[in-house]
Symmetry: C2
Subunit: 356 residues, 2 copies
Amino acid sequence: MSRERRAKALEQFAEKNLDAFLVTSLHNIRYLSGFTGSNGALLLFPSGEAVLFTDPRYTLQAGQQTDCKVKIAKGPMTGIIGRFLAKRRPLKLGIEGDHMTVTRQQALNKTLPAVTEIIPFSGSIEKLRMVKDASEIAIIRKAVNANAQALENALKRWKPRMSEAEFASEIDHQNRKLGAEAPAFDTIVAAGPRAALPHAHPGLTNTGGGMILIDMGAFHDGYASDMTRMVYAGTPPAKYKKIYKAVLEAELAGIDAVRAGVTAVSVDKAVRAVLTKHGLEDKFTHSTGHGLGLEIHEPPRLGKKDKTKLVPGMAITIEPGVYIEGWGGIRIEDVVLVTERGCEVLTPLTKELRTV
Amino acid sequence: MSRERRAKALEQFAEKNLDAFLVTSLHNIRYLSGFTGSNGALLLFPSGEAVLFTDPRYTLQAGQQTDCKVKIAKGPMTGIIGRFLAKRRPLKLGIEGDHMTVTRQQALNKTLPAVTEIIPFSGSIEKLRMVKDASEIAIIRKAVNANAQALENALKRWKPRMSEAEFASEIDHQNRKLGAEAPAFDTIVAAGPRAALPHAHPGLTNTGGGMILIDMGAFHDGYASDMTRMVYAGTPPAKYKKIYKAVLEAELAGIDAVRAGVTAVSVDKAVRAVLTKHGLEDKFTHSTGHGLGLEIHEPPRLGKKDKTKLVPGMAITIEPGVYIEGWGGIRIEDVVLVTERGCEVLTPLTKELRTV
């Protein structure tokens, strides 16, 4: 698996005539080598040779996880990579410009022959990661299912006196019980008018009366899930029902628009068209969705600008929302998998209007 | 508060004749401006003028949190900062080399006049942050107390059938209930022989028989706590008692060595001397401790190399450990506050040998 991914990565650089490419994003290192440690760097050579650098804490783990050569660095890693490279006398070295600090590049420069040309790239490996392979899809499916189950389990323990923060913590607890490594982002529980803040931080507000917006996700085997559901504590008034229906219609239109070959922006447009019909377009203040995988937010971005064409195997969210200051907000979010003719909705939970 | 901190920051650059200094670490921005948002940059000028850049999500929040001028950037922030600076025609611009990517520096370069000299600095603001002021100490005290209470609460819910992961999740849950924003790091619960791994990730191993190593911390109002305690499920054998006693003796010797004017390395030496006396020096495979504050790991590092002199107001951990492969490990960790004549142990929990 890793070997095939590395071959694809090298294809991207073929015409640049690089002598080596240095990967420093931990997510990209995991993707290309299998290594999951918290410190590392990966050197790729056009010959197919791949060398993983890490520190003594990971000697055993690196040997088990990767098919790359492993070099254990005692002391500052940049110096050791630089000296290793200096021996190979590379003329052109590619680096990940988004994942290397200015200080680290300076340290690397000092150890390399003066003739070396360092070329920063942006988003090259991330572009490959957009399309998930079978093993990744299986993990994402598992993560999405567990996240849905965690909400069901947490709702069974919900009590009218609970604060947003208490319920958010219950959700995280249930996700962990189902095997999650960590939340994929700070769980959002926003009650009543606070649901109008798309990124509300759970606080002491009571969840016992009115709308509750719940946006939650967790990492399983390194891959993120992401889901938003609304629950109404009590009997929802007509306005809530009406807006809920409009957002759901928009979300379903987004799902309907997803298929191989269409652009990310066209899915966003399909969602906005429904909200415009309901006179709610200006209340939808963020993008329709995003890719997810080893990170919670990955390309493509389903917004007003990104013209990336959808490809089978992309895992993306569809998450329209309507936010009305002083009243509240409604968002509905699923993870879907792009297929040749449409998409598969991975999130297993109902989107019927729900009350507690 | 923020204004005084900015004045101190500028003093550091006085002799470099900078025209401006660009702060891009979110922790350093918070420290120098009060702003806690997830996107921002702060420009400091020798005149005392300070300009905070952030995006439209934070218009209201930035206005409330900071006494700096606020500029709201619609679109890529680097370009907007660059154009703002270009108008001022700086000749020498300091940047945080550890907190700026190569890609971002390239984008900044493009918008600045060609005569601008960009000078990367490392660790300048972090150096100031080592010594906590009264408001910071009050928050750290609160965070450390809550973390101790969370362990007590979690232990009341401990059951012999619980896995490491379940108990770790219970600890996180209790910390959240006490107002923590998030864990300060992945909580460690390591049972039996797994306690020999200093950074064990909680797994399915049962905690019902033998030693349990618990290393936990959480953020309160942005500041981290950190604590390690041992609990023995059952009746501890003689070897456990003996090694526990040796580690505790080493930890107390470390605390005893802390006072204003001594070096970080001398505290590490005092700890190692005790373990050497017990023939355990080679089983202590990490450093004695570290500073903590807005980040869980801050300078100074109490290890074999750091010669930083301790100063009243530094908050540091003392955390010796002994790790024996196949048997287990024992670590005891407190947070202490450096004072003129010694230190104050902030962690309120007993270090008597404890069983469940």
